[in-house]
Symmetry: C2
Subunit: 496 residues, 2 copies
């Protein structure tokens, strides 16, 4: 028999890999517009652009270096020709650490950089959960001052308003890991493993609420599924400061601060954290950022385990309907905080850093949900082809329109069926179709058709003759083409 | 002895993988500005955005599916958890084919799309040769008309002028594969392998010139290295049409067309190709694109082997000095053509397509070379920290400046050494530094410093007192901060 090679090849499937997707037209334009708006704010705040490659050595990415043969847990990784492992970046912070370590002698200090672009996660995809998505980060490296953290909070607030989230529909909430460290001191829990258990329990606060955390810090809790979850085993007295911390948000900043002082007792680290929160509050007030935009909220627990100082989270506070039709808050669209071990892996030195990451895709979803997305989509004027020997005539009209800044094109498909040309124009959301048959040419006129008006009828119209009878069609002088098309587009815009 | 695990880990190298690089500040901003300019033209021409993922199945990418275990020749590829091969896209055309095949029933026909983004090549990196670089493509799928090709040519011309290449510094050159097919018919070479040899030889025209091609089509040629390269073995008579084709560019389009007619003899396919070139010429003329912008040039050979109809290439015609100090033309920055097998692998159907790819990085290099890049870089106004207990005061100034649209920041490093603050401002290309010590605060004034003027001196200045003596420094009322800073920036801009 013949070799395998001679088998007729199967046709490849026309699909992207699982968990990846395509973005078309308006979706791309809207994201680019948002990235530009964010860039403008980041730039105004003094941050400089950095674009690192999509690919890093696995060694430089670091946290994915287990003792296994294929270190691709969570990342897409492969070996190059020298057997070195490379991987797609999973966030924009790990590349920043590599870049800062590499160029630290040449970069300004502090180094303020923003970065935006896709990141990749080798995780199980799910509904709305993709393995490639955009992040949009800003970080200040080498700034120990809490003023750097405060600045990130005001920038986050300005950014959200700049992309179209009005004041009142979002809140930047600030907490501090140092306060939590003070709370842990006050509990008297000194065993590292038990401290980690407490941290993990706090992380569940968003899900299980204060009653759930109370049970989990103590003996344990019966899960919703009926399973019994063992508790951390703290006494009530030990658990009290943690619960006080999580519920210490008061009517205003000073009430919250007073509650926090009770929670940390005399702990130095705890008091230092509270002092940082106070400073952030003062700087916010000085900048005119009231508690309707940025507030201190000790119930923010996301990232408390990872960060070393202030932690921030931006939430959209309006309600949407979830997949099951229940009302819920839209939730988090950005998060960040202070981390002091950014480049230590590379250089051995601790370098303080603070930053934020905006989830651009979630933010876009939120704006779409609220109907606040500008209709960037505008279809091209379509110059139809009535006589295929006069393509130059049609192309000249298109060129005139384009030179006047009007989006326009000649129909490029087979011109035989005029109905197909109009169906094409509809599919492209064309505002105007231009028609010039032999008679029009002879008389120095063209027909222009308001397609927004005529859209409902177009499916039934097969010939140019029928088309001419529609009310939305006008005969104009050929020499007035640009002016009349512009008028018709403006009228259609006005009707939206 | 202990296990391997207990070995102290080596510090990772702070380097990107070989062949990858980072882009900072102005480089990123300039590329984004160029991509926006190109997008504007593509959009005005009626093309819609498409953003496909960086990752495709190797099956869908297609041309990299050899009978080997690791199909990563030329691409970065890896196996996912189901053992399926995935790879980073190596261009934007292969993903377009997959997308068109997948969504062909929903997309408008013809489908006009543009795409821009990085692509990846697993090739040996070299000087100026990176394994990740940007492409910027526009393609029309499903348009058999040569008008679609002509449009690509005028769009390419408009795009180059839009990004800052003046007329006269570029040329879009057009050739046609069908004409070459006609030439091949005329030679009488019918053996497929020998035809392929002729094509490969023509591809060397750019390098070896007409004399070299003449030798290589005949008996062979002594290489520059002294090696003898065997020729294709055509007789002089057989080679004559090929040589006539390559040298058929005349003084104007009609002279070129006449020369081409001689080269193709009576070949139908050749005459069809010539007719297409004539139509492109007519459409160009109708649109006002003269031969100083788009011209028919049968010496364009790049891509002739790959494309099936018209082929185009955009060249920058000005001279630069190469690495060895010799004058040479900058050369090609974009290329494209017609290819009719775009989706056949997926669907079995032939779908005509034509398009262009712009090498954005080369185009940026050309503009930098000619000093035609706008100075997008403008550093932030730096508000210095004279008294670390008054950060709110400084932050308030920064907020006022930012709210007025002025790029500004407070110094975030350790404020102890005032000289470091000024060195930082210099490194950031700050136009203005703002200084408010205790005395100024008491008197309701601030010092503002023109750093462009003072830059040369700053390295020697260590204290705020010395600094105040510099001529470029002004004392202004605190309440005039925004107005005076704006004036100083405007003055500095004017001096550039």
């Amino acid at each position: 028999m013949a070799k395998d090679k001679n088998k007729k090849p199967m046709r490849p499937k026309a699909l992207p890999p699982k968990g990846f997707r395509d973005y078309f037209g308006t979706d791309v334009a809207q994201r680019n517009a948002m990235l530009s708006q964010i860039t403008e704010v980041y730039h105004r705040y003094g941050f400089d652009a950095l674009e690192s490659p999509a690919v890093e050595t696995v060694e430089a990415l670091g946290k994915f270096l287990p003792d296994v043969d294929r270190p691709n847990e969570g990342v897409f990784a492969w070996q190059d020709e020298d057997d070195a492992w490379m991987a797609l970046r999973y966030d924009l912070t790990a590349p920043l650490a590599r870049v800062y370590a590499q160029f630290r002698n040449d970069l300004p200090s502090p180094y303020r950089r923003y970065a935006m672009g896709p990141v990749w996660r080798n995780e199980k995809p799910g509904p709305g959960r993709y393995r490639q998505f955009y992040q949009c980060d800003a970080d200040t490296v080498g700034a120990p001052s809490v003023a750097a953290d405060a600045e990130i909070c005001s920038m986050l607030s300005d950014t959200l308003e700049s992309v179209g989230i009005p004041r009142g529909d979002y809140l930047v909430r600030v907490n501090n890991r140092k306060v939590l460290n003070g709370v842990l001191e006050t509990t008297g829990v000194s065993d590292a493993a038990q401290q980690a258990d407490v941290l993990r329990t706090i992380d569940k606060f968003d899900k299980v609420g204060i009653a759930g955390v109370t049970e989990l810090l103590g003996k344990g809790r019966l899960d919703a599924s009926g399973a019994y979850i063992d508790g951390v085993g703290l006494t009530e007295m030990q658990a009290a400061p943690v619960l006080a911390f999580l519920t210490s948000k008061g009517a205003d900043a000073s009430a919250t601060i007073a509650n926090l002082r009770n929670a940390v007792g005399g702990s130095d680290i705890g008091l230092a954290g509270i002092s940082e929160l106070e400073t952030i509050g003062e700087l916010m007030a000085a900048g005119g950022y009231g508690s309707d935009r940025v507030e201190i909220d000790p119930s923010v627990v996301r990232g408390l385990g990872y960060y070393t100082g202030p932690v921030f989270e931006a939430e959209l506070t309006f309600e949407i309907l979830d997949a099951k039709g229940r009302k819920r808050q839209f939730g988090s669209v950005a998060g960040g905080g202070r981390y002091d071990d950014l480049v230590k892996r590379f250089t051995g030195q601790e370098v303080p850093a603070t930053g934020v990451s905006i989830g651009v895709d979630r933010l876009l979803a939120a704006l779409r949900e609220k109907g606040r997305m500008d209709e960037i989509a505008n279809g091209p004027v379509v110059v139809t082809v009535m006589d295929r020997d006069r393509m130059s005539d049609y192309q000249t009209m298109v060129t005139e329109l384009r030179n006047a800044g009007i989006r326009a094109e000649m129909y490029m498909g087979n011109p035989k069926n005029f109905g197909n040309q109009l169906k094409y124009a509809d599919k492209r959301n064309s505002p105007v179709a231009v028609i010039e048959g032999g008679d029009e040419k002879a008389n120095g006129v063209v027909q222009i058709k308001d397609l927004a008006l005529g859209a409902r009828l177009s499916a039934e119209i097969e010939t140019a003759e029928e088309w001419k009878k529609q009310p939305a069609q006008m005969e104009i002088k050929r020499s007035d083409l640009v002016a009349e098309v512009r008028k018709m587009i403006a009228r259609a815009e006005g009707l939206k």
